[in-house]
Subunit: 230 residues, 4 copies
């Protein structure tokens, strides 16, 4: 099974909500009126202005919930380090792992010898897990033999400000391939819902026009489209 990312919920009209909240700071109008009255063009110009200045706090009012399947626990261990977000993950303590299911890295799947080693190890590790469970070992302990690449499911909620931070870190070429795949799927989905909030998003080379890494990758992206195409 390959990775699957669904946008299962989000703030309705995220662009408008953010723009109205931001306008409130500089206006005497009521917040309710601002939500009603802002026009599409104003919204997009105003959001561009906020993003350009790095005044991202109003972006927090737009929130997105993703359901992710077919991701490895290597990737979720990286993902949940983003603390300004909410997570619900499938528990290996309560759910029995009945079939061998692991994410195979492209560097391995494209190399027949490596792929054979990988596939055999996953199968044998899962066999050991099953043998341990049959011998009466609790699932939560038997899983210590399951491989890092084991598949898991997770629901993730992040607001647009944290998403921008997440995209800047995890769409950089220096991030690992799997979390980059996840981040690309997430960015594609939120761009449809909130085109103004995410018209410019991604690693610093794209979003800020400049790399701040001490050892740059040497291949800066030139556009969000290039980032999204991998």
């Amino acid at each position: 099974m390959a990775i699957s990312v669904l946008l299962v919920a989000s703030t309705p009209e995220p662009d408008r909500t953010v723009a109205a909240a931001a306008r409130l700071c500089y206006s005497n109008a009521s917040a309710g009126d601002l939500v009603e009255e802002m026009k599409g063009e104003d919204i997009s110009r105003f959001i561009g202005h906020l993003r350009g200045s790095g005044h991202l706090s109003p972006f927090e009012h737009a929130v997105f919930t993703f359901a992710v399947d077919g991701i490895s626990r290597v990737c979720t261990h990286q993902l949940v380090r983003h603390r300004l977000a909410s997570y619900s993950q499938q528990s290996q303590r309560y759910v029995e792992m009945t079939q061998p299911e692991a994410v195979i890295p492209p560097s391995i799947s494209s190399d027949p010898v490596a792929k054979e080693i990988f596939t055999r190890t996953i199968r044998e590790s899962h066999g050991a897990y099953k043998a341990l469970v049959e011998a009466g070992i609790p699932r939560e302990d038997a899983r210590y033999v399951l491989p890092h690449g084991w598949m898991t499911k997770i629901v993730v909620t992040m607001n647009a400000r944290e998403l921008h931070h997440f995209f800047s870190m995890r769409l950089c070429r220096r991030a690992q391939w799997e979390i980059r795949v996840l981040a690309r799927e997430m960015l594609s989905l939120v761009r449809e819902k909130a085109p103004s909030l995410f018209s410019l998003a991604g690693p610093d080379c794209v979003a800020r026009g400049r790399c701040f890494e001490s050892r740059p990758c040497g291949s800066p992206f030139s556009s969000v489209e290039e980032v999204l195409s991998g």
Copy 2:
């Protein structure tokens, strides 16, 4: 102007979204399927079970955005101490305060002598503000003479877990009257949108059946309805 609280945005189907995310932890189904398939009755029973056990992390996937007008800066200074939330507030640095507008506490409005002192002081403080601005003092400095009760506007985004915490603190009789009024309005609004998530919410006397204050108020609430009626 009295306080006005609008629910300007929220997670669509908040009860269902939370229940599906929570179910994922204990299931082999995909998150997408869970969102589709959960029935109303299951949702409400499952959420009740989570709340009863204090397993509130899935509640974070339901998010609510409020637009608040006619609240004092006394109240917003208390409000923004809740750090697991997002705020956009009208700026006194950029917006000129043209009219004397302050929130008057009921203990003062119900006492003719106190009310007269209050009204005069608000008017004179605002007069001093205007005189300072006219004398060329920047607004951000002239406002140092405006009273704490001065009205402001704020957009607030909180998730259902933080809202439960907010309601437990701020609907207690020991909280100040103004933030209690705000919290009541917020609770009324979210109960309509998310009846299961908020069927039981409020101070510990109601939500946990027991007061943990070292000096209890002596008048515990007996129901959410009583809390909401003030």
Copy 3:
């Protein structure tokens, strides 16, 4: 290698710092004077009062940094879900895993058959990892075959409020054995440094005198000492 937990840094005089900060809220004295002047007995009584009422926000001013070795990635994946904390973890992307090193659960080490399965699987998984690295697969991808029980190292910083929450969750008998071992070590260490802050800490059965789980374990702890003895 067994688990090793060191308290490598902490707020000097944590009890005094918290008590002085809390006193400030109710006093006209300066914060600096309060830090100087509070006596030991006052400190301990005042902190007991805060804890009893659940007014834990001043507890955040006491901060503790732990260095943890010999813990599994199962355990750190649970640990880092505590978001009000700071973590620095050994990277499997950059550090080569030269020896087979995994945490073996007691349920497995005490069962000769299970132990044999476990040991063999760890050894074979590590063999596969080495073979993949030798075949030119990047470490970050080769590690997908390493078992969940693989050992890691992590530096953790938490304040006393979050530690209380962590202890309430992770010293409960329903938490997994490994994070309970970690939490016991942490609680022992902070009790020495901050006896007032942590005189009463642990699962709700001990710290609040009552269990809130929907399915209680049936064996409530009767004292912090019993919690610490495992």
Copy 4:
């Protein structure tokens, strides 16, 4: 009374603690050994490298607690918007405000006419507060007439990562003068304790060599020393 800022507690050896935690990520040594063994020169070079790349998460392990007196509630309302920090503030609900005490902005104190308006308004507002308290109005309500500039006391705990963010926002010439004064005092204090962590800190013009504001102030700072001298 003028502003007074004391550093009442901090992580002992903050530079060393951060450097050891960061090294752990890329090393096979134990965290305990790393804390013992790192030399001063390594520490400073390693920290410079982290800061240059924006890899600031290890900076969170160094934590600083400040006691602040003589600051206005205008300033604390801005301060407590920084959510990754801990605060304990003097309560106007419990402490009676016996004397007229307000922070006077320099733009006002340097202008005799404005100063006279200001001083009179503060005195009259405080007179109204006292009259209301004497008439039996609760302190928490009487304070609605106290001016925004009223003095307060607050204890603040922030880690070095959040302090860098705070300094970048609040030492910018576009921040208000009072929070800039506070931030300068705080930066002076932490630089003594943690010279490597804060050798380069301040607004983007200094810390990143470039302004990201859409409307720059036109007078970028050229050094941390210039920032500190106001």
